[in-house]
Symmetry: D2
Subunit: 350 residues, 4 copies
């Protein structure tokens, strides 16, 4: 890729996507490799997954396994937003900032209407004030709302916040999407059920993330409102996201969900995140900029400390998220000693 600068990210604490897969997921891939199977998701594992997720969400859901979170978001939005539609989202949201316009590509040119929100979360009030122009041919049409759970500042939407936003959306006949790239981390943070955090709070379609929390490349688009599925099968195939050996995506998700592996992984990551946050907060020169509610920590460091840490190999990236803070992420496999090493490195500076 010669003429493209790719953002080089720090490996340690840089993101939860620097990790590999957890052992249970790897084993499932090996097991799925035995024997032949019908391609394109018409296999037993994919069928079973549908049932397993219906049980977990306490409702019959329609599931589309997919290898990419960006594609999951964009395809989900394309089922609820016409080319002339508005998607209401936080100005910092991943769909708005970090997907190179994937929602626009998949919807055929919809408009992402940026809400200011409070910290990383949109509010029902601002949403309500922003929706306008319905039925007027000159204006793009209010169509859908997307929230990220865990959101882009590491905070978690509370159930009543989701409900209020959903109420506004549904009052205006808009559909609700949740970008759940870190769904498990939010879930264990809220100590609630998958059903409560989604359709019982008004979510219509979910991008269910698993890659960051222990899979290799596995996500799912989950429909709680079946009539929204529409032509997704065709859109997905047309985008090259209907993998021929789809059973290997399904197999990852199956193992991820089996025996609460996903919850175990997320609990660990959140615990390490908290430990890291507390450790940094204890330092006089470091300011935690957003409440640490899951596995992401946002902190302001003095300039010379950033340089020092970079020299030590930590390559902190100050530019992220509005220039306000450095983001540090704990993953399913981050160790307590990794946190201790970072804290001690900071300690050793002076």
């Amino acid at each position: 890729m010669p003429n493209i600068k790719i953002k080089r990210e720090r490996v340690k604490f840089a993101s939860d996507n620097v990790t590999g897969a957890c052992p249970e997921v790897l084993e499932a891939i090996l097991k799925a490799n035995d024997g032949d199977s019908t391609p394109y998701g018409n296999d037993q594992i994919s069928t079973d997954l549908q049932n397993k997720l219906s049980e977990i969400f306490e409702k019959e859901v329609i599931v589309f396994p997919i290898a990419s979170g960006t594609a999951a978001n964009a395809l989900a939005l394309a089922t609820m937003t016409p080319s002339f539609g508005n998607v209401y989202c936080h100005r910092l949201s991943h769909i708005n900032n970090d997907e190179c316009g994937a929602p626009e590509f998949y919807t055929g040119g919809a408009k992402l209407v940026n809400l200011q929100g409070i910290n990383g979360k949109i509010t029902a009030e601002e949403l309500n004030e922003s929706i306008s122009g319905k039925g007027i041919v000159h204006h793009t049409q209010p169509s859908s709302v997307s929230i990220t759970q865990v959101c882009e500042t590491g905070e978690v939407y509370q159930l009543d916040e989701i409900k209020k936003i959903s109420e506004v959306a549904h009052k205006h006949n808009l559909n609700m999407h949740m970008d759940g790239a870190r769904f498990a981390n939010a879930l264990v943070s809220l100590n609630t059920t998958p059903a409560e955090m989604t359709w019982k709070s008004g979510i219509d379609v979910l991008s269910f993330g698993a890659t960051k929390n222990g899979c290799l490349a596995a996500e799912a688009i989950i429909f709680f409102k079946k009539e929204l599925v529409g032509n997704l099968g065709f859109l997905m195939k047309r985008a090259g996201h209907l993998l021929s050996k789809m059973r290997f995506v399904s197999a990852q998700l199956d193992a991820y969900l089996e025996n609460d592996v996903w919850l175990k992984n997320a609990k660990h990551a959140n615990k390490i995140g908290k430990m890291l946050s507390d450790g940094l907060a204890a330092h006089q020169e470091i300011e935690i900029t957003y409440p640490t509610e899951a596995n992401e920590v946002f902190a302001k460091f003095p300039r010379n400390m950033i340089e020092y840490l970079n020299a030590e190999g930590y390559k902190m990236n100050e530019d992220e998220l509005d220039g306000k803070a450095v983001r540090l992420v704990a993953a399913w496999n981050t160790k307590e000693e990794d946190v201790n090493h970072l804290l001690k490195t900071i300690e050793n500076k002076n």
Copy 2:
């Protein structure tokens, strides 16, 4: 996926995509899983892959690993075809018939101009006659040519055929794309080199397939003409095909290429294909409809034999490819005994 009928394919001999990964590829995934790594293809394995493929193709190539063959084709075409462009291809081609309009989606609406060809292959003559309208604002503009190697009737383009087609394309300032979903099978069939079968014969961009021949989900877009890369990085990200843990795609390709695993797999599949073709041809009531030049066999069966085989679990699909024949595909792991079982089942009919 409730409201979508998905084409159910026969498992045995149905396609080479019913298989899993070969042992070398699986092992590479396990190995890549050790330790953390920068995401989005900025890892060591992906960098090394670039070099490895440059060696194999005897030329510095630009490589984009990708999980999907359909996406590889469509993105490759999007680098050489504007929204108002023409892609010249065989009417039976995968890009025209089996990708639900992916090339149209990725190019923003280009036109696939169907050539009749001879059997499954287009000819330089027909291509030359079909190119017209250049520079005239009322007509979509001739932009690219795409050929499939192994083509959709199981035949393989000879080097001089590729060269003649490329000459016509380049004479008209069109770019040449090869859909190499079964690249290895064609290569060992022709007993030639990767360089000879591609850029030395005028190919500008290659969709290098590996999934069907022993990977889980791994393909690559390979540029021989670097200036065509253009904005591919952005288009790929925007489509959700820049996987965060891309190193696992690269690792599959690396293992696939190492120690000639790919050639070994393809030779085996072609050998089994030939064995199957010969076995069927020996039967009085069965007609081989296209020459078996790689791992795909096309044959006409009497109606009652199809019904019989379906009853025996073989579910033959007569409707494929213009209704002319049933397609049977040998894979990297198809066994001689699988062929013998099929032939014996046929034998036992009478």
Copy 3:
């Protein structure tokens, strides 16, 4: 437009679009210019037009006046064809050959499936055989059929031909579009009613052409099946085809329809077309290649006669329509003496 070669067309007999507007239409523009009016088609003239066309078509129709025939076709098709849909049409059709991919642009990438037809007309039989793949996720989906009336070889679809094609289309749940760029010429040729030639024969949506037959820039998309209108208002605005001073388009159409101006113009053009055709046919060296059924004449001339006529200022263009013939078109204002001049010029050659 510096880097674009624009196809230079012969003025005399080159097309019916070389003409201006007929006096009745011009007068209507002058009249509409008096006083202010609400923009964007919310004016009295536009409202009245809706009623006038409902009367003419003996059915309550929904009308969208528009300045461009290409846009009328593409927008009409976009209401009945998803991005992953197939439009079945003649290989020579204007939508396929002469609109630079407008249908693909407006549908978001649909596929125009080319039928061979007989001369310029598709047949119900070929259409029926071509429709396949419905519901299978790998294939673009059969969605609509488009026929051109007068068709691209100057022939006119007979009512029973339209009915048979519509029956096949509707049997497969496809919608029927008619590109009526020369609607009036076909109508007077068949000596039938607007209703008979459209919805009574199964047409669902019509591109009603008027520019070629006496307007400046005025066409209309007419819906006989109201539920197909869908989001057309938004699509049209989004494309820049909802003109602010739309009443001037409506005013042209109103005058065009009033007092049978449109039928008078078309009868004249057809009469001149017949006269031209007969005159050319009488010449030994000239071959009429398609039956002259409206105002277009297709004829083969000897090479040296073409050169001679070009030298005389007639610049005949042999390359049109498959290289088979030169097209000569009579317009609403072509005079008998124009025909006589051409015939005499030919006569004088020897």
Copy 4:
């Protein structure tokens, strides 16, 4: 258009697009109607227009006449913004709010980045701070800047403001677009030259509006930077905006420019606008909310006065432009007595 609510606008002072054409323009249409002419803009009038505009702008420009201002804007932006690009514009801009997503449609999904600006104008400083992410594959790419002259609050960008914005844009390799829907009104307001207000201040491409100021349907895309033209010819045809009888658009523009008709019309409209603004400002209960710098007046009225005026037939629309004010627009043909009538009606209220 049954299922679409179209925004009903007040006729008197509602907009400058409620008017017809000025006499000079009408006469030009009549004159252009004499005789036949080559279609699609290959006529003498269109050629001459190119030269006339080059003279007026003191530079060889490339001109594309077009019937729609929305299409002019969207097509202009499409020449300078890829599908993954950012267009920086004011949050109140017409391209962002009043074109139903036309820029997104024509660019294939670009993102309109909203700037807050001061009143209706963006600032060089905010623009400079907003441009980021260049070359990073995760982010949509900074590509172009669009300003509206006269802007959406009726204010006019001063030359030095345009220059500063252009400098920032060009420093980042972005291209500058001006939406000149009311170009003439701004020009006479600034009392400057067309060259000064455009390319000499850094504008690369201009949407030159004429419909509002005395034409029926005539605008032009004007390129000062020729290399940006790119494939516009094809994009325009593909969108149905290359009208066959294009000479009638060119003829309008020609007459509009001849003998300074455009400047005369704009001066009149601005004068009436000023008169209206002064008259309203004199009223104790009415607040002029933005400086009246051209032909648009923005004013806050007491609720009961709005109701009174609506009852008198003036149907004031309070909802426009952020809910802050009612917009009143003077046109080329608005009479002093129209202003007096409105002022007297207000007077009579008490």
